[in-house]
């Protein structure tokens, strides 16, 4: 009797322990700092991106986390960072464009905080050089957090005893906008996302991804021409070249040349500081000009940052204006060579991908999902797959196969421009 009691007690203890372990994993909130020992984590790159004047400490991270989730940072106390960068939604809001105070909407899709510490510049147009500086945008933007100036925010934080204590510990009591930025940025730097099936595949596990995904990876490097801009290598496994390209997304709606003219005038008059750029980017029809608003260089008209490709199924919709709902829409956009406009990047070409090749590429992109987002991603994938079966607004097979090579709206003396694969090549003779 006693033995059996003892045995069941042991069993209970084991069961409890197991449950707690499992439960502990499930109950770790998505907002918590992520462990660094994930498969595929780029340790060397990480050491490069932690700034010397803002090292990571647990206390600072915890302070930053508190601030991140604090809606008192908004002018009317209703908008916190996580409203647009919600952990459960891949640190985005899964809206085409974000909503700020007074339910006002901006023009740009909220980028994810996940792995943002590795970006060389922040925002779709790179107007902030660091995570710290990025914070200043939404803090002051009239349709985001709507503060009149930094002093208001600092004063508010100073008046909160909890923060007085934390700032005392972390910053020796100096409550300044700079330190608020440092704390929040330190928290953001804990939001890394690796350990995906693809990372495990690259580490040597041949069974980590499906055959379809492997074909997709091959297409990614070859026919799809994705790798050149969405570059991956073990040192920098983020699927971005940290550059800006006009892929024609804005051309869906805007007419660039008159917009560029207007933008130059406004910038010349307004001085072109971060605040003005921020407003132009978020609030005006010139949002579509992208990087040009920052550099004022012809080369950058309509250019936007190459975004990373991890966890795409929790960071939908896609592109700087959130105009595309599914990964198939994104691929259709590239397949036809983007949307023609005078400043379209010359690397955008019709790809001629078949439906099954697009499916393979989607399968590959799905393998870039971190475990904590796996189930949410699967749900979203099924939604997108169902939608993609019936609704494909970007699909243009004629353009993708080069039949209407010069894009819609071209009025020329040409008809069908299908490249003839077996055409007798007039360049018949060799060099000598």
């Amino acid at each position: 009797m006693k033995a059996r009691l003892f045995a069941s007690a042991i069993l209970c203890a084991i069961a409890l322990a197991l449950m707690t372990t499992v439960g502990a994993v499930e109950s770790v909130p998505l907002s918590a700092p992520k462990p660094l020992n994930q498969k595929g984590f780029p340790a060397e790159l990480y050491s490069w991106v932690i700034p010397a004047d803002n090292p990571q400490t647990p206390a600072k991270v915890e302070l930053g986390r508190k601030l991140f989730f604090d809606d008192r940072l908004a002018a009317d106390g209703t908008v916190s960072c996580d409203q647009c960068h919600a952990p459960a939604k891949g640190f985005t809001d899964q809206l085409p464009a974000s909503m700020g105070i007074h339910h006002a909407f901006g023009q740009r899709n909220a980028p994810t905080i996940l792995n943002a510490l590795f970006n060389t510049l922040q925002f779709w147009d790179g107007r902030a050089p660091t995570l710290e500086k990025q914070i200043e945008g939404p803090i002051l933007n009239p349709v985001e957090m709507g503060n009149k100036n930094f002093d208001d925010v600092v004063a508010k934080v100073k008046g909160i005893p909890e923060y007085q204590q934390s700032f005392q510990t972390v910053f020796n009591g100096a409550i300044t906008m700079d330190n608020i930025e440092r704390a929040i940025a330190a928290y953001e730097r804990t939001q890394i996302a690796f350990d995906t099936p693809f990372d495990r595949f690259m580490a040597g596990d041949q069974n980590a991804i499906s055959a379809s995904a492997k074909r997709g990876w091959s297409l990614f490097n070859g026919k799809g021409r994705c790798m050149t801009c969405h570059g991956w290598n073990p040192t920098q496994p983020l699927f971005t070249d940290n550059r800006f390209h006009n892929i024609g997304v804005s051309a869906h709606k805007s007419d660039f040349v008159p917009l560029a003219r207007k933008a130059l005038v406004l910038i010349a008059q307004g001085g072109g500081g971060l605040q003005q750029l921020d407003q132009l980017a978020i609030q005006t029809d010139m949002s579509g000009l992208g990087r040009f608003l920052v550099t004022k260089q012809a080369h950058d008209i309509g250019g936007f940052r190459t975004m990373g490709l991890r966890n795409l199924l929790v960071t939908q919709p896609y592109f700087h204006d959130g105009s595309q709902q599914t990964l198939w829409d994104v691929l259709d956009h590239y397949n036809k060579g983007g949307v023609p406009n005078p400043y379209l990047d010359g690397g955008l070409l019709p790809l001629g991908l078949s439906e099954s090749e697009e499916d393979d590429l989607v399968a590959f992109l799905v393998t870039l999902t971190s475990p904590e987002y796996a189930s949410a991603s699967n749900e979203e994938l099924e939604k997108q797959r169902a939608r993609a079966k019936t609704d494909r607004p970007q699909r243009d097979e004629a353009a993708a196969t080069g039949k209407s090579g010069l894009g819609p709206g071209f009025k020329g003396p040409f008809g069908d421009m299908t490249p003839a694969q077996n055409e007798e090549n007039p360049a018949l003779l060799g060099g000598d």
Binding site: N221, K223, R225, M227, T228, W232, P419, Q421, N425, A427
Partner: protein
Amino acid sequence: MISRRIVLLMFGTAIAGAALAIRGARSYAQQAATHDVPAAQNGGTVVMLCDGKTSIEVKNLKPGQMMSRARAQAVSDELMDQWRRAHPGERWEVAQASQTGGEHLYAAGSAKQPPAAAPSLAVQQGDTYASFQPRDYKVWKAETDKFVADGKRVFHDAKALGSTIGISCDMCHPDAANTHPETYPKYQVQLQRVALLRDMIDWCIENPIKGKALDANDPKLRALEAYIYAQRKGVALDYGKH
């Protein structure tokens, strides 16, 4: 004049089987004119070996008198035996060709000075890389040139490259300019990975040329690589340079 005797002696040593390097023989002939032959003791003729040391007196041979072939051979053999006894384990032609061998030709107190810094003429023998012949060089060069020429042909031929749009490599790379083969391996921006030259060739074939990438073992790819390297002969290797 003793030159005629020396010439006889030369002939003799050649028959005796000493394989002299031609160069060695020539220099030997030049240097031989200067060594001092000891005087005859028994009324015969002193015959000296080209080392300027070994000599025997051939009895019953008056100065100017001709020897029979057989006798000349016997004299040569005798001289060589003497030399071999004095230099156990050494080889005649090596000793003659070497710096030390040359010095022997000059007796102490000789008025003539040795040529300054005569280069070593010693050549190793007996292994693969020691036995290249002029014919080999000709054949190998012909083969290599053909390989490179084939690469040049493919390089300039859109059809051979499999281009579907009439583009060949030389259109952007006349004379393979701007291909920089000496900088591989390097991180190739277009591929977003560390590439070798052949990886970039294949990428170009797939992209601007719009053909099918060639297999790594495809003779055309290897020939293209060869041609591109050949155009940069003499340029220092500088892997990783952008």
